[in-house]
Amino acid sequence: MLILLSATVPVCAHHGWSGNTAGEVEITGEVVSGVRLSGPHGTLQIRDADGNVWDITLAPGPRTHRAGLREDTIPVGAEVTVHGERHEDPEVFEAKVRRVIWEDEIFDVYPPRD
């Protein structure tokens, strides 16, 4: 399931988002590869209902951790929903996200936009 939300909101002021200007997305899927916090940014892989595997980029490791999202928080196979911006190329399943929702928990790795 992939719902395209309004693209009129300004792009998040964070570097490395240049390829992610296709607008806000909400992606729900099953965790294929769990949260990793070791690189320049935290990462996560999810498979949506259409079978597409998404590479999800979170905030930098310490920031994601501080938002309560640790490497062992969400088990592989769990269903999560992420909010963020997807890659401009519709063939590339990549998104940089600010919010991760798992069960009744909300992890805002970047400040929520309202």
């Binding site: 240049s18 070791s38 690189g39 320049p40 930098p60 490791g61 310490p62 994601t64």
Partner: protein
């Protein structure tokens, strides 16, 4: 290039670094910044002297602290740089700034190898009497070095914004 990148990303070094915790990347990034500041801060003094600044200070006097500090900074920057690259190497595949930066680092080293072999440089750091054309050679050496390292730094900083 992609094969080489995949190799680095899958290397034992990369695996080891990824297993060290959430602050590792930030700390290596810090080492990279320290290396760059040490390298560029030192080399800028030397290059500006070669370009004609502070003529009352002998080149040898400026070279004595700046050359070893620049070399130390270079080693720190290159070591931490390879480590940073190893975390997610293939993500930088096709990044034009990386593709300009890496050859420019090699050119910077070639420039060092050439300059240190120039008779004009040898005379300057040994305090020998300069030949008439020495000043021009040293001017060019200083200008090239500044240009090369500035390009490396600009491209390096821009990698993350591509």
């Amino acid at each position: 290039m992609y094969e080489w990148m995949a190799w680095l990303e899958a290397s034992a070094l990369a695996e080891f670094l990824r297993g060290l915790g959430i602050w590792t990347y930030g700390l290596i990034n810090l080492a990279h910044v320290l290396g760059i500041s040490l390298l560029f801060g030192s080399i800028a003094l030397l290059d500006l002297r070669l370009l004609g600044a502070w003529r009352n200070i002998p080149v040898a006097t400026i070279a004595r602290p700046t050359v070893p500090l620049a070399a130390t900074g270079f080693v720190l920057a290159i070591t931490s740089g390879i480590m940073m690259l190893s975390f997610n190497t293939t993500e930088y595949h096709g990044n034009p700034f990386l593709y300009i930066k890496l050859p420019m680092v090699v050119i910077g080293l070639i420039n060092v190898a050439i300059v240190t072999r120039l008779p004009a440089w040898r005379r300057a750091i040994s305090g020998a009497i300069a030949e008439p054309a020495d000043g021009i050679f040293l001017n060019i050496a200083g200008a090239l070095s500044l240009l090369i390292w500035l390009t490396v730094i600009v491209c390096g900083r821009m990698i993350g914004y591509w």
